[in-house]
Subunit: 450 residues, 2 copies
């Protein structure tokens, strides 16, 4: 049977790539409110064609496409995907237009081919093979396909909590995944949370000449610098009272898994031009563990006063900073927001305003969960290499409601490769990995149904 399914996938690859190309040709840029409704409708239609019972459910933001279809067993696999994409800019760096998918050298280029439309169509392609060769799906399958992933999934956690029955399943496959530099498939078993804020200060109605009142007028830029300085010093310790209270240190198993991963120090130095790491770290498992298991407080941006060439003598009336906190289990973004307000007030910075620009809770799946093992094993057959388990990724995403509210093991599997350029110009997928992902997903559903 597996032989037949593989043969189906190999002979029908062009059809699936054609379907993906149609989906990519429909722009769906959430940040620019461009094509969201149209893409939701197109996505729903693709599920309906496969016999799914589909609903397009409204939220305060972009609609969520939900589809379900019964299978031969009682077990249900939930796929989480998203139909929105990052903005295509800067346009001049694309070799071919972002919304005109282009095939060359075994790769398909276009905005969203990898993140996340290709993942969606490769999974549908696996369903096509199963339906063609088995006449049915081996297990029940549900899809939840949101349209706000690239703009922080604000509606998703509430939606999940309001639709626990609808979304009931036995396990979840996450939207992304792929192979690393050594072509080994990687599973990311957790995502850090995030609390993203903008801090701002206003000290006057208008900017004032710095020759006037420099000794007696408050300066918004100074207020901001001093307030930021209270958040974290060069020792990298985040100073919000209670911030570390809920941090779970990595387990011995986590450290074992991190130790088995490839060295990153030289890669980082070459890729980003970082000359030295913080906290005296140089390389090895200590560097990798610190990277993901420590929560962070990052200044993402600073703005105040004059920023052009040369000099302008002005005292800024307004200053602001974008700051993100990456959170590890069991920290919560709402707690951090509270701690931040209380800390600033206590330090004498009640004048610093906080705008909450979004947050996500951290969540992890047990690396020894049987579903994780199954996803790994079924992949090993396809990739011809043992999979690697990353207990926690440095990035963030909306996995918490799936892990904590639906109680699902969440595993990652996908068609990404290290040069996929998600979020960047010339985003691309490799067709060989597209085919492998479809073969992997078909195998997974058959094994999962048992």
């Amino acid at each position: 049977m597996l032989h037949k399914i593989d043969a189906y996938l190999e002979t029908h690859l062009d059809d699936s790539i054609a379907e993906l190309s149609r989906l990519v040709a429909q722009p769906s840029v959430g940040a620019q409110n461009w094509g969201i409704q149209e893409c939701a409708a197109l996505t729903a239609e693709m599920l309906r064609r496969r016999g799914f019972d589909v609903r397009i459910l409204p939220t305060a933001g972009a609609p969520i496409v939900f589809g379900e279809r019964q299978g031969q067993s009682d077990k249900t696999l939930l796929f989480y995907n998203h139909y929105d994409v990052q903005p295509p800019e800067p346009l001049d760096l694309w070799e071919t237009p972002p919304f005109e998918p282009s095939l060359r050298d075994g790769k398909l280029y276009g905005r969203g081919v990898s993140d996340d439309k290709g993942h969606l169509t490769a999974r549908l392609f696996a369903l096509d093979a199963l339906l063609a060769e088995l006449g049915d799906l081996p297990c029940g399958v549900k899809f939840i396909i949101e349209g706000e992933e690239e703009t922080s999934s604000a509606s998703l956690p509430g939606f999940v909590r309001q639709h626990l029955d609808l979304l009931k399943a036995d396990a979840c496959i996450w939207e992304f995944g792929g192979v690393d530099h050594e072509e080994a498939p990687v599973q990311y078993l957790g995502l850090r949370g995030i609390c993203y804020v903008e801090l701002s200060v206003e000290t006057a109605a208008i900017d004032v000449h710095s020759g006037l009142g420099g000794s007696i007028f408050p300066n918004a830029a100074w207020r901001l610098v001093w307030a930021l300085n209270t958040l974290k010093g060069p020792d990298e310790r985040i100073r919000l009272p209670g911030f570390y209270d809920k941090v779970r240190p990595p387990s011995q198993r986590d450290i074992e898994l991190m130790a088995a991963l490839p060295e990153t120090a030289e890669v980082y130095k070459q890729q980003f031009g970082v000359r030295a790491f913080l906290k005296g770290l140089r390389e090895g498992v200590e560097l990798r563990v610190e990277e993901v298991f420590s929560p962070t407080c990052t200044i993402c941006g600073l703005t105040a006063g004059y920023q052009g060439p040369g000099s302008k003598t002005v005292q800024p009336a307004r200053a602001s900073a974008k700051v993100d906190f990456r959170l590890v289990p069991d920290q919560q973004p709402e707690d951090v927001l509270d701690q931040l307000r209380r800390h600033l007030d206590a330090e004498g910075f009640a004048d610093v305003q906080i705008a909450y620009l979004g947050g996500q809770a951290p969540a992890r799946t047990d690396p020894d969960d049987p579903f994780v093992t199954l996803v790994g094993q079924t992949g090993d057959e396809v990739y011809g290499k043992p999979h690697r388990l990353v207990p926690l990724s440095g990035g963030s995403g909306p996995n918490a409601p799936f892990v904590h509210d639906l109680g699902l093991p969440v595993a990652t599997a996908g068609l990404g490769h290290p040069d996929s350029r998600a979020h960047a110009p010339n985003e691309n997928i490799r067709l060989d990995l597209y085919l492998k992902h479809a073969k992997h997903m078909a195998r997974l559903m058959m094994a999962f149904a048992q």
Copy 2:
């Protein structure tokens, strides 16, 4: 004789305004390298027409126009003016085009009418009246008219030191001056110095996603914030070692003069929307003394990472701040630059680069200098109000080489008024004050010649 001179000025005002209008119509925006040579030539021609021996002297920047003409007495008065102007932007806020001078409601509008072309032509107008009625100038007159005043006068101090004989004089009238809200003529008897720097940090070759390496990569914005925080805390004390060593406190006479000036607290609150002053100050002479007699460290601008709407999760590879220090006698910008480098190194911020964007030394003239008194007395006759003496202004300018290298008393007198809008759209002068300034300068030269 004074009556004849006044009559000449009253009947020839239109001619002088026409000459000013021609000068304003010649743009001379140093920051945009626009019309500088042409305006220098036009200025030189205006002096030549009055029988001056004129030279256009090159510098590393804009040429300096120098002119001299003997008078009836051996005494020589030096006028310092500048022919460059501020950029006219934002253009859409001008009611009439900035380089098409427009007369309405007793005011002339245009870029540079007040700062500083009107001052120059009003002084030439005074010479015209003296030449017409006396047949000669009562005293020798020299003009030094530079073209880099609006871009920090980088060439001027060196030029003065190299031309001490050429510039030899007995006293100097500064480029600006005017009346306050109560129509009283004001003399500013000193200018603070300035040391303007850009601090910058680079921690990586490119910005890095904040999900990646946030715990282990250095962040340029954090480095900048911590470095700035070492310069000054909320107690407003500037922490560079040695910074205050050369600060001269105000004398009893300075405080007497400051006490005689109008209250500023409410004006500042209303004009700038400042709610409270620093250091617990509320009003009165204490507020005014602190404003100008304390040196400052002002953040004029901050730049790092993402500054657009919403959130972007990025660790900035580069961050920079524009910082100015306003200096009081006898601080020197070169000393502060040294202190800053040594301080940053000592505090662990050798990675913070300093770009020196310009500096000027502070300088003051004795408020009881006979020339200051003479300028005041000759003005009192014209303005019908006693003049006010401000021992030190909060702003900066290149008066130090005149005071310290040429050894001249420098007094200010001019045609400005509180709504002149120098550096802003709709810059204007009042024709009544233009005429008064010419009358004042004619009287001054006659009295000075004695």
